[in-house]
């Protein structure tokens, strides 16, 4: 399916976090849009910028028609100038505003690296907190239909490496809304990396404004035999894997960290204390990435809890190929997670 044609048609499992009254079943994109709508209406400092935020596609629906309600002063299209505009957004944040800068794809954030990493992420530390940079950057990982090497990169590992930059990776509509509102409220630069396949989902989402705290992960499913940490869209695959494993008599605990920096270390270590086995599933490359860091956490702080070596499920260390037969060989999913768990439990 072309990436432009992805529609919300899958119901997320009810993870029970919608809390009070459950909320409505909302399209993933609509949940983000609602967060922006509420932030724009509640806080005059908030503005939304990015290529095509005011066009008919409206950033996969996440910003659609917001300019009609708030005007193009506060919801505006930008030139294609990611390098400068990241600095412009950071500067506006230093000047007292709360910019939310949308990028279609994380790949384009490479153009933003200098302003993001050398500047925005260091400003608080370098100047001992004298100046705040309450900036939100957002980008959405592409996948499928020949997105290929320059439109599909899952770059969380690279941004995870950067001190001073908070990093959130939602996988449910509830979290997409709550993390967006938390990111906007935060006084630091926050990068939200979405995954295009999550836009197929509809999830229970309360109408009121609420935040999902950065640094607080979630248990998606409880289990005693093995802990599966799923990052971004792989959290959904991990849940599917756990259902399959349950049919085979294995109870997996599925964790979704939701944000990587800060990382909810206690959530992972507490679960390890129970299961003693860890599989980390990430939508990105393996080497030097998020799965490596979580494995290192287990080794450094939970070695005595581990009954078996850590297993990682990730993309191979290769650029993404365009062809669908190659994509099939490239992307891991629930089946690979099941296989990794079985290797641990039934070697």
């Amino acid at each position: 399916m072309p990436w432009t044609k992805i529609r919300a048609e899958l119901d997320e499992p009810d993870y029970g976090h919608a809390g009070d009254g459950g909320g409505r079943r909302l399209d993933y994109a609509a949940a983000i849009r609602e967060a922006l709508d509420q932030a724009l209406s509640l806080d005059p400092r908030v503005f939304v910028m990015g290529q095509g935020v005011d066009d008919p596609a409206g950033m996969f629906g996440a910003t659609r028609d917001l300019h009609l309600k708030y005007g193009r002063e506060r919801v505006f299209d930008t030139p294609l100038a990611e390098t400068a505009l990241t600095g412009v957004a950071a500067g506006a944040a230093m000047g007292g505003l709360r910019p939310v800068y949308f990028h279609n794809r994380p790949d384009f954030l490479f153009l933003a690296m200098d302003q993001l990493v050398n500047h925005a992420a260091k400003w608080s530390y370098m100047f001992a907190g004298a100046v705040k940079v309450p900036l939100v950057l957002w980008a959405c990982i592409g996948r499928g239909w020949g997105s290929a090497a320059q439109h599909s990169q899952a770059l969380q590992g690279i941004f995870f490496h950067v001190p001073g930059l908070k990093l959130a990776m939602p996988s449910t509509a509830f979290d997409a809304k709550g993390l967006m509102l938390a990111a906007i409220a935060d006084d630091n630069p926050v990068l939200i990396i979405e995954h295009r396949l999550n836009f197929r989902q509809k999830g229970l989402t309360p109408e009121r404004p609420y935040t999902v705290p950065l640094g607080k992960g979630a248990v998606r499913r409880a289990g005693d035999d093995v802990t599966i940490v799923g990052i971004s869209q792989m959290a959904n695959e991990a849940y599917l894997a756990a259902e399959e494993l349950a049919r085979q008599g294995i109870q997996a605990e599925v964790l979704d960290p939701r944000s990587l920096r800060p990382l909810d270390e206690d959530l992972i270590l507490d679960s390890l204390a129970k299961t003693g086995r860890l599989v980390v599933a990430d939508s990105a490359w393996k080497t030097g990435g998020v799965s490596a860091e979580i494995a290192a956490l287990a080794a450094e702080k939970g070695l005595d809890l581990l009954k078996a070596p850590v297993r990682r499920v990730s993309c191979p260390d290769l650029p993404t190929p365009a062809g669908y037969t190659l994509e099939r060989a490239y992307y891991p999913g629930a089946a690979q997670i099941v296989a990794a768990v079985l290797e641990l439990l039934r070697p």
Binding site: P2, W3, T4, Q51, G52, D55, P56, A57, D77, T78, P79, L80, A81, E82, T83, A84, D107, F108, F110, L111, W145, G146, S147, A148, A149, Q150, H151, P316, D317, L318, P319, P321, A322, G323, Y324, T325, L326, R328, A329, Y330
Partner: protein
């Protein structure tokens, strides 16, 4: 028309061939066999053909996401292009690039970036390589008005002007980046017009008139080969289709009323055909024969692509590094 008649007819044939390929892709796209995004260059054929007609096979080009025309105009292999759209092992990038990543190094086409503006500094570096190796080749980068928003254009042009590099910057101003009109992104158009010509030769041409494009390109090529430095050619043209995929996107409503119809009257392929007919340089029978040959060539290329093997998992890790 200052272009020799036989040459003009040949330019027409090339433009028609690019147009016909685009239309064939459009006609088959709904079958979902080409599982790759396509960015059609319908309406922009005269730019690719006019520029590449001024080049030699050993000159370089760097292309972008909307690159089918650049590839064919530079002499790229048609079968390998079509096979790439079908993600086959016989494709020019062996099924790992798709429509946005065409390449044919044999004819100086060293690749296409789908990062907007990504090819601009690469082409500048190719120009540097030509200079440092004492080659009289030139390097061309094709990029859109969206890419002209990017700072990397300034940085690249500055170096090319400083070192008088043999680089030709071809701005295909098709009026839009996705749905954003150029006027909403640039105050009064490109800032690279109007510099002293010895620093940067700039031209703004009707990109739908292949003779105009060719004339500007020939001047730029002569300047580059003689070591006088870079040129900047803005070709005014129009993206007749949606940003990506097949078909019109008029229903989205972001283009002003009547704009598409106005540009349709300036269709580069149709207009050139009419002018050639009127001037008696081409007759209907010759034109029909030309169309037939192209159609047969496309039939053959599509059949070749569909019959070609799909790359298997064992090919996944190939080519990460050059061996």
């Amino acid at each position: 028309m200052s272009v020799a008649p036989a040459r003009l007819v040949e330019l027409y044939r090339q433009m028609l061939r690019i147009r016909s390929l685009q239309e064939r892709i459009e006609a088959e796209y709904h079958l979902d066999e080409m599982k790759t995004p396509v960015h059609l260059c319908i309406g922009q054929e005269a730019v690719a053909v006019g520029v590449c007609a001024a080049l030699r096979p050993d000159d370089y080009i760097m292309s972008n996401h909307r690159g089918h025309g650049h590839y064919l105009a530079k002499g790229g292999d048609l079968r390998a292009l079509v096979a790439e759209l079908f993600c086959r092992s016989t494709g020019c990038s062996q099924g790992r690039g798709g429509s946005m990543h065409l390449v044919d190094a044999r004819v100086g086409h060293l690749g296409s970036s789908s990062i907007v503006g990504g090819g601009i500094p690469l082409a500048t570096g190719l120009g540097l390589a030509c200079r440092m190796q004492g080659l009289d080749r030139v390097s061309v980068t094709f990029f859109g008005d969206g890419a002209a928003d990017e700072g990397v254009l300034y940085e690249s042009l500055n170096l090319a002007m400083l070192k008088k590099l043999p680089v030709i910057y071809v701005l295909e101003n098709n009026q839009y980046s996705v749905c954003s009109p150029v006027a909403s992104r640039q105050a009064g158009g490109s800032v690279f017009h109007g510099l002293e010509p010895q620093r940067l030769l700039s031209a703004k041409v009707d990109g739908n008139q292949v003779e105009e494009v060719l004339a500007a390109a020939e001047q730029a090529v002569a300047r580059a080969r003689s070591g006088e430095g870079p040129s900047f050619i803005e070709c005014l043209t129009y993206r007749m289709r949606g940003h990506a995929g097949a078909g019109s996107d008029a229903h989205l409503g972001y283009r002003p009323e009547g704009e598409i119809a106005r540009w349709e009257r300036r269709d580069p392929v149709v207009n050139l055909a009419e002018r050639l007919l009127a001037a008696g340089l081409l007759d209907r029978a010759t034109m029909a024969a030309m169309e037939e040959v192209i159609a047969a060539e496309l039939d053959e290329a599509f059949a070749f692509a569909k019959a070609s093997p799909l790359p298997g998992a064992e090919e996944l890790a190939l080519h990460l590094f050059s061996e």
